[in-house]
């Protein structure tokens, strides 16, 4: 394979992935830290490198409405958003998954006002877990690019036909420059054929879409939507394998384990913080501690089997949440906990909530989490939920 590495940001890597996927319509509204992606895309259209209709929509609500409209006539579409913008799309997110339009979106994970913050956490997308979109979280710019291409393949699969959101941490990934391999267009064309769907309006076969349903039928539509999301699991694994065969990069599907084979104590996390966790693991392993990482890649569909399998093998599991469901716990923790509860075994569990509004999660903090997990295990403690490195008095 010819080497085509360039030094670009995560946002630019997404734009490259979009260009290679040849969408017919791009509709997006600018929001920090997504803007570089939509700027690059407009430049690519201007330069003739992309043959797409670029729609300068006046809001995120219109971005998702326009992409749904284009998808409803069989066009491949792309949009991108973040934070407040993603929430402004919320109606459209449910609408899009219910309409079974495989729109692909990049979401730059950013905090949600109030207080205002342009910096990263994952409260935006995690608060929309129930909107019926496939959600993947990436760890670096290369994975961002590769997952855009894979997203079209997964979302457009006839057994799936469900929109997909590729999440990358605001600034930490969107604005950090890395060496990224740009795949060859011909190979991408071979990997990702043209979008074909029965779920479209056409003059050959006119249809009425986006209809109402009575109570007699509604549950059946939602059942099928749920089945399609489960169908995505096999498609995700197959797509990961096909992608690895063609491009040489493997992401291991629903989750990626790091040093979990013999681990006693494991942290579960999403996105860029996994990189820091790996560094801490290497250090602690050198000191003889059997620690590991479960990087959750897909939050929907949820990797329930993978989490159960891990829980059977380890003694303690901690979950890092860059989000909080007020009045309860972190959303990732709730999901992981639900899977662990399906096995008949004591596992010490702990939820570490932090890194909100862009606060860095440091190596020292992660090491501290592992140590707390060891301590909890030793004391046979009940589960704990804590905001780590808090600068105000905790009520605990």
């Amino acid at each position: 394979m010819k080497n085509n590495k360039v030094f670009i940001s995560g946002d630019e890597a997404v734009a490259q992935g979009v260009r290679l996927s040849r969408p017919h319509v791009v509709a997006a509204y600018p929001i920090t830290p997504q803007t570089i992606t939509v700027e690059r895309l407009s430049e690519m259209v201007e330069a003739g490198e992309m043959d797409a209709e670029y729609m300068h929509v006046e809001s995120e609500h219109s971005a998702i409405s326009a992409t749904m409209g284009a998808s409803a006539v069989g066009a491949r579409t792309f949009t991108a958003s973040s934070s407040q913008g993603l929430l402004y799309m919320a109606e459209g997110l449910h609408y899009c998954s219910g309409g079974r339009w495989p729109v692909v979106m990049m979401n730059a994970n950013r905090s949600v006002a109030l207080p205002w913050s342009i910096y990263g956490d994952q409260r935006d997308s995690l608060s929309l877990l129930d909107s019926g979109w496939i959600q993947v979280y990436v760890e670096d710019a290369q994975e961002a690019l590769d997952m855009i291409i894979q997203a079209y393949k997964i979302a457009e699969h006839k057994d799936v036909l469900t929109p997909m959101m590729v999440n990358l941490d605001g600034f930490i990934l969107t604005h950090t420059y890395e060496l990224v391999e740009i795949p060859d267009q011909e190979m991408v064309d071979h990997f990702l054929p043209a979008f074909e769907t029965p779920n479209k309006m056409s003059f050959e076969n006119p249809k009425n879409l986006g209809f109402s349903s009575r109570p007699d039928d509604n549950t059946e539509f939602k059942y099928q939507q749920n089945e399609a999301m489960f169908n995505a699991i096999d498609v995700i694994h197959k797509t990961d394998k096909d992608f690895a065969d063609m491009f040489g990069r493997k992401y291991h599907g629903m989750v990626e384990e790091y040093m979990c084979e013999d681990a006693d104590v494991v942290l579960v996390a999403l996105g860029s913080v996994c990189g820091t966790v790996r560094v801490v693991i290497d250090k602690m392993r050198a000191e003889g501690k059997k620690v590991g990482l479960l990087k959750i890649r897909y939050m929907r569909p949820f990797p329930v089997e993978e989490v159960k399998d891990l829980a059977k093998r380890v003694k303690a599991i901690g979950v890092i949440d860059k989000d909080i469901s007020f009045g309860y716990e972190g959303t990732v923790y709730t999901n992981v906990n639900s899977a662990i509860s399906q096995i008949d075994k004591y596992v010490f569990k702990s939820n570490f909530v932090g890194g909100l509004g862009g606060r860095d999660i440091t190596k020292a903090e992660i090491e501290d989490m592992y140590n707390k997990l060891y301590a909890g295990l030793e004391n046979k403690s009940e589960e704990t939920v804590e905001f780590f490195s808090l600068n105000v008095e905790s009520n605990d």
Partner: protein, 302 residues
Amino acid sequence: MTKVLDIPKVNAKNMTEKEFFYGHKACAGCGGSIAVRLALKVLGERTYSALPAGCMSAVGFIYPQMAFNSNAIITTFPGSASMAAGIAAGAKALGQEDFKTVVFAGDGGTADIGFQALSGMIDRNDDVLYICYDNEAYMNTGIQKSGLTPYGTKTTTTPAGQNIPGTVTHKKNLFEIIAAHDIQYAATASIGYPQDFLNKVNKAKHVKGASFIHVYASCPTGWGTPTETSVEIAKDAVDCGLIFLAEYEDGEYKLNRNPKEFRSVEDYLKKQGRFKHMSDADIQCVIENRDKKWERMRKNWL
């Protein structure tokens, strides 16, 4: 834009027998459904219709009974213009030619919640004809006040009582707000003047880019009028001067109908349950507002 003279006229004699909107569950005498039916006969088979939440989508798309015989889709309430724009862009990108994308949205879906998307659609000059069927309130949800509900109207959210005499605001000046975007073609119409409406739809069909028609469409259920008078009352509204027929084209306004004398506003109002409570002073206020508007239109648009 194609020259008007080059466009073959569509009228009751030569229009297609084919129905594109039938079997729906609209109320008897529904003016909105008349507007949709007539417009689709002009636009023909190669049409994508986009309708937000509202009467026409509520009565036309109840699975599995679909009432459109051509392509049609319900859109998000605020996003009909943008979804239609996406349809037009997607179909164009796929190489489709010789088709029209049309929105049928109510007054609330247009002048209130859908306005931002509509303004964006016109700004981008997307190839969409946007038709607002104006029945002067949120009828689908049970007759609540919209930005196009006229002064004095009694609705379920502007009840007429001892303290407040119904709706106290005047209709938004939608036609001129749209024209202010410098849109290629905009028009007002009424189902009471069907040939005028057909001509305007026919004209808009041939616009490449954004166009807009604001069509007055009666609602017996919401207005408190007999179902058989829907067309007549929509004609009365024009004849008494509360609704005007006009166009905006090539940067110029044109008043299509300029009656020497108006029919009685009071008669028009008193025929309708929604206005029955109005005092003489309130009727006078409606007349004064009408006269002010006509003075301006006659001065500038003739």
